[in-house]
Amino acid sequence: MTYAAKNLTTGGRELIAFRVGDQEFCVNIMAVREIRGWTRATRMPHAPSYVLGVINLRGAVLPIVDLSARLGMKPAEPTVRHVIIVAQVKSQMVGLLVDAVSDILTVRDEEIQPTPDISSEFEKSFARGVLAIEGRMICLVELEAVFPQEEREAA
């Protein structure tokens, strides 16, 4: 019995794992609407550097976020091999540019370890926990923390 199948029978949750740079992350599969290839985005004025722009998702305007840049790593240089994970965060849809989708994981809640006590508040704010699976370290990303919905009005 594979690792995933073993957990599915015990009522675990499913996560989609993906690669950004040389690190692995995952998000809850329930938030993921679809996975598609990279298409050129239209630039947005005054956008934060990690917002690559917007693309047309069957008639809807979808903002694309470079997850690598968002997490404070090297900004991605998107190629046709890059992948966009279309995720739903509350009522909005957002496209996450990642290097590749690697796995679908089924894990039990107790397998998710708390985020290690690291110095950076920034990493702590978007990491909901870490998983140790087959010798890999996968960080569970809190989508809502990465893309805050309720933007505060500038004072």
């Binding site: 004025p45 990690y50 500038a154």
Partner: protein, 756 residues
């Protein structure tokens, strides 16, 4: 369809009727004395009452009934609809709306207010004419009325027949009337009475059309102990000689047409004489029909069962009322004739206005259709593009077909968009109620003038407009206008005016709210802002900047918190809700002369005619309505102005040059104007600017797509669209760009990254 669905339809209709009622009353208030206006008002209340009766909404029925009685006095010229009368009526319309809402949502109503108005309405009806209430018997009581009235003398129960004659309703000399002879068979069902209609009233209305003779068929009548007071047992056979058409007859039964069987036929081929010679046959009357009706309305019956007893008790009373009415109806023939003419005119107009049938559609379905058509337009554009790229033969049949397709698509799109577009009228009408209420509360005299009520805008915008508008109207009356004493002292009329206008401008809807009050007290606003640490004590602010301070959160210039305002909902909320709609709001105020609030809102979901341009390798769309002209700047026309500004001279006037690419932060340095194209635009403030773009690709109709749905509002960008190649292009917000070029910040107020 279950009961709740039917009820929901009733409430939707109520909303329409209430709007009709209010607009009619306002028309009357403005001096309109058209009988049709009065009729429309009466009809509205009557329909609400009828529906409410069917659903057992007692409060609503009883109020509507009193209201209707008073309106009937106006309708029959027994009560002059002067300002005082209309004031009561407008308030009654408000209460009726409240009662309807309460019936729908289960909320509570201000009982004291409705009781007070019932008294006032009754006073109006009785004060002018003591008999008024007799003319309109209670609707529920009317149901069993025919029983005692027309019971045959041979009744075993020893029932005394009550004499009842329609003679008084007939024109005096029927033979003198030229016209066609109709034979009408009118068989009411129980529902007719359950909805508060009265057969006698219908017959009376009918009698106004011409000479008629009526024969009542009472074969279906049950012995008293088996009689259901709610059921209908009689039918009437009517011979009517009239010069009006069949439509006029049908319009008499307009409210009742679903609740009765109505046969209208030409008697004897329409010969005038045929009327008199008509042999009187017993009217076939099928009792099983009654049973069916009773079964269908079983649920209704449960609801109204409580009132059955009361109705039965009052039956005798009603009968005497009817009798009284018949006896007291001693109008001069001339007047009867006049009334008949008026009724016929009204009927004709009614028929004309009813000529536009409507259909109720779920908004989601329309939305889906609009989205699909949007996709169709994009696909059509994509197709055109690829055909142009692949087919060099300009006269090919493909090109011709494509052109036709383009035209069709555009027409489909226009039609589909028109489905959602609605006039702002309902919202404006709601505002007149707010004005009345606030004026009452504050003891001010206020007149609301509305203009451009028929300006159409998308339904979603209309729905979201009510809240900010309500707040602003409240502010205008409560804070803006002075008390009558102060106004007189200032040399103004005691009555303040609030003006609400809507118009289309540059592909947006502009709504203006102006009052002729005291204007913004800038000293006070300034002091308040200093107290609240919004500005420094020595800040040097322009008048405009001070006015705009009232949009800050928690800012209220009211000295004390009143019922009306100051409950923590400030102009900041108004501004935010307007912005959420993709709109802007501006104030201009003149001390002593009043303030003007201008809201500019997009016609969301609408299609936009745009100029597709290239800026810093990006494709942008500029709304065509904003563009005055395009020009190719020559080096000699460009003038530097200070360190950063440049002007372009156009026919000897100088216009500031704005590099769109620079202002949107697409490039770090200003482009060379000679290499680009200048779009001369006119902004809302009236100022002209020359927007520099790199190149013009062409004009195209584009579908507006929301950026806010998945992203956030981007300053300088109105919305997005999808071009023929499937890529997203941004639509420029020209006004914001112009404002930014004036030095106002184009920095996002809300930022996608703010919390990161």
């Amino acid at each position: 369809m279950d009961m709740n669905e039917i009820k929901e339809i009733f409430f939707q209709e109520c909303e329409e009727q209430l709007a009709e009622l209010e607009s009619g009353l306002l028309k009357l208030n403005d001096g309109d004395r058209d009988p049709e206006t009065v009729n429309a008002v009466f009809r509205a209340v009557h329909s609400i009452k009828g529906g409410a009766g069917a659903f057992g909404l007692d409060d609503l029925v009883s109020f509507a009934h009193v209201f209707e009685t008073t309106l009937d006095c106006v309708r029959s010229n027994r009560l002059e609809p002067n300002q005082d009368v209309l004031k009561v009526m407008l308030k009654s319309a408000d209460v009726l709306a409240d009662l309807t809402n309460a019936a729908r949502d289960g909320g509570s109503v201000d009982q004291a207010r409705s009781r007070q108005l019932i008294k006032e309405l009754e006073a109006l009806a009785n004060g002018e004419l003591p008999q008024a209430s007799a003319a309109e018997p209670a609707p529920k009581a009317a149901a069993p009325a025919p029983a005692p009235v027309a019971a045959p003398p041979v009744n075993e129960e020893g029932f005394q027949p009550v004499a009842f004659s329609f003679e008084d309703f007939e024109a005096d000399e029927p033979d003198l009337i030229e016209g066609t002879c109709y034979e009408i068979i009118f068989r009411p069902k129980s529902e007719l009475y359950a909805k508060g209609n009265d057969a006698t009233l219908l017959l009376r209305d009918l009698s106004r059309l011409g000479a008629m003779s009526i024969h009542c068929d009472m074969d279906g009548l049950q012995p008293l102990d088996r009689m259901n007071p709610e059921a209908a047992y009689f039918s009437w056979k009517i011979s009517l000689k009239t010069d009006k058409g069949e439509d006029a007859i049908r319009s008499v039964f307009e409210f009742a047409e679903w609740d009765c069987d109505l046969d209208i036929a030409l008697a004897g081929g329409g010969a005038v004489d045929a009327c008199e010679e008509l042999p009187m046959q017993p009217v076939p009357f099928d009792l099983s029909m009654l049973d069916e009706a009773a079964a269908g309305s079983a649920e209704e019956e449960v609801q109204i069962a409580a009132r059955d007893r009361a109705a039965a008790v009052s039956a005798a009373e009603t009968a005497s009322n009817v009798l009284q009415m018949a006896q007291s109806s001693t109008r001069a023939p001339a007047e009867a004739q006049k009334n008949a003419t008026a009724a016929a005119n009204a009927a004709a107009q009614q028929a004309a206005s009813a000529a536009t049938p409507t259909i109720r559609v779920d908004l989601d379905r329309v939305d889906r259709l609009i989205n699909l058509v949007g996709e169709l337009v994009i696909n059509q554009a994509m197709l055109s593009q690829s055909v142009i790229e692949n087919d060099t033969n300009g006269t090919s049949s493909i090109n011709m077909g494509l052109e036709e397709l383009q035209q069709l698509t555009r027409e489909i799109q226009d039609s589909v968009m028109a489905i959602r577009a609605q006039p702002v009228k309902p919202v404006f009408q709601r505002m007149s109620r707010i004005v009345r209420e606030i004026a009452d509360m504050t003891g001010k005299s206020v007149r609301l003038v509305t203009e451009g009520e028929n300006t159409e805008v998308d339904k979603t915008v209309i729905d979201k407009l009510a809240e900010p508008l309500t707040h602003m109207i409240r502010n205008a009356v409560d804070h803006g206008l002075e008390t009558p004493e102060k106004r007189l002292a200032a040399g103004k009329s005691a009555e303040g005016t609030v003006r609400l206008t809507a118009k289309h401008r540059s592909g947006r809807i502009v709504i203006e709210l102006a009052d002729d009050g005291a204007g913004i007290n800038r000293e006070k606003v300034r002091q308040k802002a200093i107290d609240n640490d919004l500005i420094a004590a020595d800040a040097n602010l322009s008048d405009e900047e001070i006015d705009n301070l009232i949009f800050h959160a928690g800012f209220s210039t009211a000295d004390k918190i009143s019922d009306i305002s100051g409950r923590g909902v400030g102009m900041d909320v108004v501004k935010r809700s307007i912005q959420a709609l993709g709109g802007r709001i501006n104030i201009s105020s003149k001390p002593g002369q009043g303030s003007v609030f201008t809201m500019s809102l997009p016609l969301t979901l609408a299609v936009l005619d745009g100029m597709v341009v290239t800026v810093a390798n990006q494709t942008l769309v500029v709304p065509l309505t904003a563009i005055v002209e395009t020009l190719q700047p020559e080096a000699s026309a460009i003038h530097s102005f200070g360190a950063t500004q440049r002007l372009i001279s156009i026919r000897n006037s100088f216009c500031p040059l704005v590099d769109v690419g620079r202002i949107l932060n697409f490039r770090a340095t200003q482009a060379n104007p000679v290499e680009g194209v200048a779009l001369l635009v006119e902004s809302e403030g009236g100022g002209q600017r020359a927007l520099m773009v790199d190149a013009i690709q062409g004009q195209r109709q584009v579908v507006i797509k929301s950026l806010e749905a998945n992203y956030t509002h981007v300053p300088g960008i109105a919305a997005a669209t999808i071009l023929g190649d499937g890529r997203v292009a941004l639509i420029l917000d020209v006004d914001a760009i112009v404002a930014a070029s004036r030095g106002q910040s184009l920095k996002p107020e809300m930022s996608f990254a703010a919390a990161g």
